[in-house]
Symmetry: C2
Subunit: 236 residues, 2 copies
DNA sequence: GGAGACAAATTGGTCTGACCACGATGCCGC
DNA sequence: GCGGCATCGTGGTCAGACCAATTTGTCTCC
């Protein structure tokens, strides 16, 4: 027993695991610089090509960061770094999965709004007001959607949980929204969004967690409907 | 204008984007086979090494699957494939982030339990009973934790949202649990878990969504406390 | 004629070594 | 003392070779 090599997998995969282990164990700390690709390859006993594949993989996962000419570094390992890939999922998903993604958002966003009601600062509320005004004044759909996203981002942020923020950020991708909200330019749909944002804002102002939760749930509920319609289109 | 090349990024990164675009647009469909690495490299105008890095990155993201000797394939793009990386995050995270992860679970799991109360089948309930019995009979911590995880997995599954299942699955990682539950072997802690599972199970049997939600929230609330204690240890 | 075994072609996995491009360092001249 | 330039270190890319797993086709034997 005690196989020292892992024949059933690739050397690259093994390298990935080894680096991940060093991270989990605290052997590598956030911000720290790794040895050079060449040294690392020698250390782990593989070629530079394979080592590079491993580093690239961990880079897209948001764990490492390669700076051309400067070296490879561990990221801050903030949830925002690590869960960036969550957005990629939202971008690629199609059909029914779109609905499932929105459903998860429908669970998380009300919870975030509820927590935010108790924690949001006066400054946060002021920023929400600003976004609402900007959204109403907005002319292009692009612009309006931008302020809409920012509105939700501020609330999420106020909940004070970076993991939650990162997940909701991914689910709230620009690309994702664009796909769900196709044909969103209709005037009355925007009007409805305004009203719903207003309701959420009011609940936050009154520091009413339950009202905030409900208002957010209603808001996302509307999105869910569109996602469902869109999903049926996809199933062609 | 209209720069045709993207000088500000790497060729590998560009290749990743191009393949992702093909996936999002439906140009590449789940299960489909891609051209060989060599052909793909020629097609996108880069070397095979760089192409391989791109493929490896997408493999780690759960989007592609490379079969030695057989070719590269698009996965089924099921949430379970794509959100596998979520587990990796949970494995690497330390300190306060552990608490934030558990907090997200505390939001999602009650929601899942609530939905499950309305949807779980008789067979599902039977499996829950079996897991509870097995857990009580379990001798090693390893074994008990395994049945515990399965208990939650069955409930999550019954909620019928694969995205939700995938996220909770990642949050419920074996490694993750091991880190949070250090010193979990104490008898009374297990006893408490038994009782809490019992409460969740009863609510499901009675098809009572609110009771299920509450019972699940209480259960995860206990875990949150341990995670918090564990996080303070980490901050050394 | 069909089934199994073997051989060849296909294709991902790994390695080597070279060169380029970007950053950091330090030296030199003003 | 300071700005600019040369050098070196390091990641980024490329090319070509060989290995290993799989697939496919063919051939033999029953």
């Amino acid at each position: 027993m005690a196989e020292e090599s892992t024949p059933r997998t690739t050397v690259t995969q093994r390298a990935i695991e080894q680096i991940k282990a060093k991270l989990a164990s605290g052997d590598l700390l956030p911000g720290q610089r790794l040895p050079t690709e060449r040294d690392l390859a020698a250390e782990l006993g593989l070629s530079r090509s394979s080592m590079r594949e491993a580093i690239r993989a961990l880079t897209v996962l948001g764990v490492l960061e390669a700076r051309h000419g400067a070296g490879v570094y561990v990221t801050q390992l903030e949830p925002s770094d690590l869960l960036e890939t969550f957005g990629a999922v939202a971008e690629i998903s199609r059909g029914e999965t779109l609905v499932h993604l929105v459903q998860v958002r429908k669970i998380l966003e009300p919870a975030a709004a509820s927590t935010a009601a108790a924690r949001i600062t006066e400054e946060g509320l002021a920023r929400l007001r600003a976004e609402m005004r900007a959204m109403e004044r907005g002319t292009t759909a692009e612009e309006i959607v931008g302020h809409d996203m920012e509105f939700h981002r501020i609330i999420t942020e106020a909940a004070g949980n970076p993991v939650l923020s990162a997940i909701l950020g991914g689910l709230n991708n620009r690309t994702f929204r664009a796909r769900v909200w196709r044909g969103y330019e209709e005037e009355h749909v925007f009007a409805r969004t305004f009203r719903e944002h207003e309701a959420i804002y009011r609940a936050l102002t009154e520091r009413d967690p339950e009202a905030a939760r409900t208002a957010a749930a209603i808001h996302i509920g509307a999105v869910e409907g569109w996602a469902r319609a869109r999903a049926e289109e996809d199933e062609s």
